[in-house]
């Protein structure tokens, strides 16, 4: 193992960190929004809709991400082409950036997991809290935004952020469709010199640093969110 190659690799890999973090963060946001929608659908009273959702979510949770990625990589252009032909958008689907396939497949896959987290968090808010709001005469909307959401959020946010670190790691699959993340950058580094051990160790260290730093930040966030549970008596 050569230390100077390792250091060189480390800095090169470090340069893709912002785009890796950014892309996974974008996916995280979209998946959270979609996951909330899924949660609402799941609470719906229509059994048909509920059944459809369950089939849908079971599919996305059941099939490995890699396979979703491939299906969307090939399927998305077809769908867009069909739409484009229908509405005369004139989009050329052969030029469609593969990053859209990554975003769509990752978002759907993650949303089906996040929906569970979101559901659990809303459920964990005690009915006593909601009843208090009702009894005081809050409207449904007021109850949701003033009582339910803030408390569910402090439960969900730490878990969602934890999912973020998973997403960062999972993004390494996206290189299959040319989207370069940390691990892909390491592979590109090895292309010229076959120095796998150096490059992969550098990638491992980058991942580790990211994860440790993010975890630290997240635990600060969590600490703040849960400030009201820090009973002086406990």
């Amino acid at each position: 193992m050569s230390s100077h190659i390792f250091v060189g690799d480390f800095w090169t890999i470090w340069k893709v960190v912002p785009q890796t973090l950014g892309l996974s963060f974008l996916i995280l946001i979209l998946a959270t929004l979609l996951g909330s929608l899924f949660w609402q659908i799941q609470e719906s009273r229509h059994t048909a809709i509920k059944f459809l959702y369950h089939a849908f979510s079971s599919y996305f949770r059941g099939v490995p991400l890699l396979i979703h990625l491939l299906i969307f990589y090939y399927g998305l252009p077809i769908v867009i082409k069909a739409l484009s032909d229908q509405f005369n958008w004139g989009v050329s689907t052969n030029q469609l950036n593969p990053i859209y396939a990554v975003i769509v497949s990752y978002t759907l896959y993650s949303a089906s997991f996040l929906a569970e987290i979101i559901r659990g968090s809303f459920k964990s808010v005690g009915t006593d809290q909601l009843e208090a709001a009702s009894a005081l005469g809050y409207t449904g909307t007021q109850r949701f935004f003033a009582v339910w959401l803030p408390q569910a959020l402090s439960e969900a946010l730490p878990k969602i952020l934890n999912y973020y670190t998973l997403l960062i790691r999972q993004l390494s699959l996206a290189f299959l469709v040319s989207v370069v993340d940390i691990f892909a950058k390491a592979k590109l580094e090895t292309a010229a010199n076959d120095r796998y051990i150096e490059a992969f160790c550098a990638a491992a260290i980058v991942y580790w640093i990211l994860c440790v730093v993010l975890t630290l930040i997240f635990s600060k966030v969590e600490h703040y969110l849960r400030r009201y549970d820090r009973s002086v008596l406990a």
Binding site: Q129, A132, A135, L136, G137, T139, Y228, D229
Partner: protein, 260 residues
């Protein structure tokens, strides 16, 4: 004024309220007593429609809701006539004491935030909690939480306040404080309905006592009637365990305090 007519409620085909009728004049303090599991809490929850009865009519201060409810807005209108102080106090755990009292005023009564804050401070002072404005509920003792809960309810200017077991797990000194607070509320012309297991407390505080059993009102009368000359044999047996005393002691000790 409260007028409850023929309220029925079942849970899983078990009848919990079996045709309750109750009339209370404005400013009355009504206590519900009776064995555990008899439906006292359920009745309180039906009054503000936290639990929807299966049948019956509830009227508070001119707002009349007939079951089945046709207009869902009536629920809100009725609830805004009442405020509830829960047995577990149910303060918003993510809000400080002050926020707990301010937010409902702003959201429900559309009070200006500054005004709401001033009012909150006054009411917290009334219940002796002015020094705890920045605390979270988890940092307060049970008695302290309850007092904040009372302040929160009062700040909404309700016509009716519903109390579920206000003194369970409070020591005698705190119980007296709560008693003072409730008396003061009653003096404001607010009607109070209150469920309790403490007979002495019930006798001291109320001018109308309702003895319930198995979802029925067994007897309804003044404290003197219920505690000293119960008409019903079951009431008498229930109260056997409670020694009736000569003169009320709490009322002599009510401190004077002013509510805005």
């Amino acid at each position: 004024m409260i007028e409850i007519t023929n309220v029925h409620k079942q849970f899983n085909n078990r009848t919990v309220l079996n045709g309750i009728n109750l009339h209370a004049e404005t400013g009355n303090v009504v206590t519900l007593i009776g064995p555990s599991g008899t439906g006292k809490t359920t009745l309180l929850r039906c009054i503000n429609l936290l639990e929807e009865p299966d049948q019956g009519t509830i009227e508070i201060d001119g707002v009349r809701v007939q079951i089945p409810i046709k207009n869902k807005n009536d629920i809100l209108t009725l609830r805004r006539k009442t405020a509830m102080v829960f047995q577990q106090y149910n303060l918003f755990r993510n809000q400080t004491v002050l926020q707990n009292v301010v937010q409902p005023q702003v959201l429900v009564k559309r009070t200006n935030k500054q005004v709401a804050k001033q009012r909150a401070e006054t009411f917290l002072q009334e219940v002796g909690m002015q020094d705890y404005q920045k605390y979270y509920p988890s940092q307060l003792s049970g008695g302290q939480q309850q007092r904040v809960s009372i302040a929160r309810a009062l700040a909404l200017d309700p016509k009716v306040i519903l109390f579920d077991e206000p003194t369970s797990a409070l020591d005698p000194e705190l119980s007296r404080e709560v008693l003072n607070a409730i008396h003061k509320v009653a003096d404001l012309g607010i009607t109070i309905v209150l469920a309790t297991h403490e007979m002495q407390f019930a006798e001291e505080i109320s001018n109308q006592v309702v003895f319930m059993e198995n979802g029925n009102v067994v007897e309804d009368g003044t404290p003197a009637e219920i505690f000293h000359h119960p008409a019903n044999e079951r009431t008498a047996r229930f109260l056997e365990n409670y020694r009736v005393r000569q003169a009320p002691i709490y009322s002599a000790q009510i401190k004077k305090f002013k509510v805005v």
